[in-house]
């Protein structure tokens, strides 16, 4: 990455440079299942990558909410002094 891309001279208004887009696309491609599974035919557009990234993070946030709900119900029925709780504690320590 060029040093120019690292300078934050235009804080808040700097646009993403083409180099960064290429870099981002290659990194995101390895992280995003939707893009990774595509045929590597054409360039994936930057806006598509950004869109998929937003979707990916939003889905993860949704999973966090769902799992919090699930854990809330599960933990309610666990006695903190029970065998299960002490097992969990011992596994972590």
């Amino acid at each position: 990455m060029s040093s120019r891309s690292r300078s934050s001279r235009h804080q808040g208004s700097s646009r993403i440079s083409d180099d960064q887009i290429v870099d981002l696309i290659s990194k995101l491609r390895s992280l995003l299942p939707e893009i990774r599974n595509r045929r590597r035919s054409d360039k994936v557009s930057a806006s598509k990558v950004l869109q998929e990234t937003c979707n990916y993070i939003r889905n993860l946030h949704q999973e966090v909410d769902d799992l919090s709900e699930r854990l809330s119900q599960l933990l309610q029925s666990i006695d903190p002094d029970s065998a299960e709780a002490s097992i969990i504690r011992s596994l972590i320590m």
Binding site: Q20, L67, L75, I92
Partner: protein
């Protein structure tokens, strides 16, 4: 980006359990929704504290949580044992009260769709008045504007994103994606390991 995923997840789980135990011991009669809120907060703070404040998104999560007095105890407990985890520095948060959770989206798909329609309409108008405007430049400017719009959207998803320039936003996003995935894996592993017997 993450050198030892299983070790990282162990750390996250350990912190997460710490938060959960405080939830169980101090509040006997929590409602399901309140318990859920504390569980989610514990998970988010566990992630942020393990990331250790070296990333702005992790500092943003901690700052966001600390602003509510209800959370002070939990924040203190989860972060206090390791000392000051987050780097000091000016955080321009004043007056931002339109978020109720780290990185949660407030815009809907219809906003993006409406914006896209506006872009296309604007370009059609340009074409009519110019007549001979080359199509390649139009496509490029549409693409640039779409990237700009999508980048704006992304800022809502990454904690602290609204105060980042585009360059930092992408770097933070790449990091946040990987770690958030780890948080989800930890939560799911815990949920699957707990007994499901009814009371």
């Amino acid at each position: 980006m993450m050198h030892n995923p299983s070790k990282v997840k162990q750390k996250i789980l350990k912190k997460f359990i710490m938060g959960l135990r405080s939830c169980n011991s101090s509040h006997e009669n929590l409602s399901v929704s309140e318990r859920r809120r504390i569980i989610k907060l514990s998970a988010d703070l566990a992630l942020a504290s393990v990331r250790n404040g070296s990333r702005r998104w992790s500092r943003a999560i901690i700052e966001e949580a600390s602003r509510s007095p209800d959370n002070k105890g939990l924040v203190q407990q989860m972060l206090g044992s390791d000392g000051d985890n987050h780097l000091p520095g000016p955080i321009p948060w004043e007056g931002r009260s339109d978020r109720n959770g780290a990185g949660h989206v407030t815009k809907s798909k219809s906003v993006v769709a409406a914006s896209s329609k506006k872009i296309v309409k604007r370009c059609r108008r340009v074409r009519r008045s110019n007549g001979r405007a080359p199509r390649r430049n139009e496509a490029a400017s549409i693409a640039k504007r779409l990237v700009k719009k999508r980048t704006q959207l992304l800022k809502d998803f990454v904690p602290g994103g609204r105060d980042m320039d585009d360059v930092s936003l992408i770097e933070e996003t790449l990091d946040y994606m990987v770690w958030l995935r780890a948080q989800v894996d930890v939560m799911r592993a815990l949920a699957c390991s707990l007994p499901t017997t009814s009371s």
